[in-house]
């Protein structure tokens, strides 16, 4: 498996995971009622990637909305990345938020406080 991609829907984000390039992108909305089911394949893909991780891993998260059900799954994804970072691949998580969206910035800072991986807070214009 070199690539894991899924398209976005009104309730779930698009995911593009290029395992050869070490780049993971999550973009859009994450408000499914059942988020565990949605995120499990990504968590599994990260497990596979962990054993063959590139020297650097870049993660771009650009969410417009996410619900609290997703927030736990996103934490699980970040915990996998924490393990990959510990295992020798330098992981960076780029957390994007829109200019006026303080709640989204704060959500990124919450994760930054919990997860031992370098975070970059990146402001985007709408």
């Amino acid at each position: 498996m070199e690539k894991y991609s899924i398209e976005g829907t009104p309730k779930t984000p698009s995911i593009n995971f290029d395992l050869n390039g070490g780049i993971l992108e999550v973009k859009g909305r994450s408000i499914p009622e059942n988020s565990i089911e949605f995120y499990k394949p990504l968590v599994d893909a990260l497990d596979k990637y962990a054993s063959t991780a590139k020297p650097t891993t870049t993660v771009n998260v650009q969410l417009e909305y996410f619900n609290t059900s997703s927030s736990k799954c996103i934490l699980d994804v970040f915990k996998k990345l924490e393990g990959i970072n510990k295992g020798g691949s330098a992981v960076t998580i780029n957390w994007h938020y829109e200019e006026d969206d303080e709640d989204m910035l704060e959500a990124g800072e919450d994760y930054q406080a919990i997860i031992n991986v370098p975070f970059k807070m990146i402001m985007v214009n709408e």
Binding site: P10, K11, I31, E33, N34, S35, I36, Y65, N67, T68, S69, S70, S71, K72, C73, L75, E98, D100, D101, E102, D103, M104, E106, D110, A113, I114, E126
Partner: protein
């Protein structure tokens, strides 16, 4: 049934949308889409729009998950819920109502009172603690919803339990979203 009376009450209370019935995943998708369009048409400022949308998602998904719990025990009627979304001046109000088994009241009330006892900073810490250590329900609920609503609105959770009989009560939650 006096339909004009319902219309008039909704008009006077500036109700944008109201629903009574069973809460399904498809219904929530539609409701969120409708509310998003309405806020676009009203040219709501992006910051307010995001806040209302976020809080609405949590309120409605609370109903969705909660009704699921009650299904196995009780009748069709009890699976039904109500919600109304209104806008008065520059404040949005989201009101939800659903049946709850009496035996579950004390647990829920304790969680709501806990959230209401905390200030902004304490809520942030509490959220992180539950996020990091809390158990996750099968559907991914996990008890973060109410904390998130309190954080995003900056207001206390206004709730009520109305006892219907010795088995069930009607739980209402009245959420205000304003641009603080």
């Amino acid at each position: 049934m006096d339909v004009f009376d319902i219309y008039d009450k909704m008009e006077r209370n500036n109700i944008l949308l109201s629903f009574k019935g069973e809460i399904t995943s498809d219904l929530l998708t539609s409701i969120l889409q409708i509310m998003e369009n309405k806020m676009d048409n009203m040219q709501e400022e992006p910051k307010m729009k995001k806040k209302v949308y976020n809080v609405l998602v949590e309120c409605l998904q609370n109903l969705y998950h909660h009704l699921d719990e009650i299904t196995e025990v009780d009748s069709e009627k009890i699976r039904s819920a109500i919600f109304t979304i209104g806008k008065m001046d520059s404040k949005y109000s989201i009101i939800t109502g659903n049946y709850i088994l009496n035996e579950n009241i004390s647990g829920l009330k304790a969680r709501l009172d806990e959230v209401n006892s905390l200030n902004k900073e304490e809520l942030k810490e509490y959220y992180k603690r539950v996020l990091n250590n809390g158990e996750m329900s099968l559907k991914g609920g996990g008890g973060l919803g109410m904390i998130d609503i309190a954080r995003k609105t900056g207001e206390k959770l206004d709730y009520n339990f109305l006892e219907i009989d010795n088995k069930v009560s009607f739980f209402t939650l009245n959420i205000k979203v304003s641009n603080q």
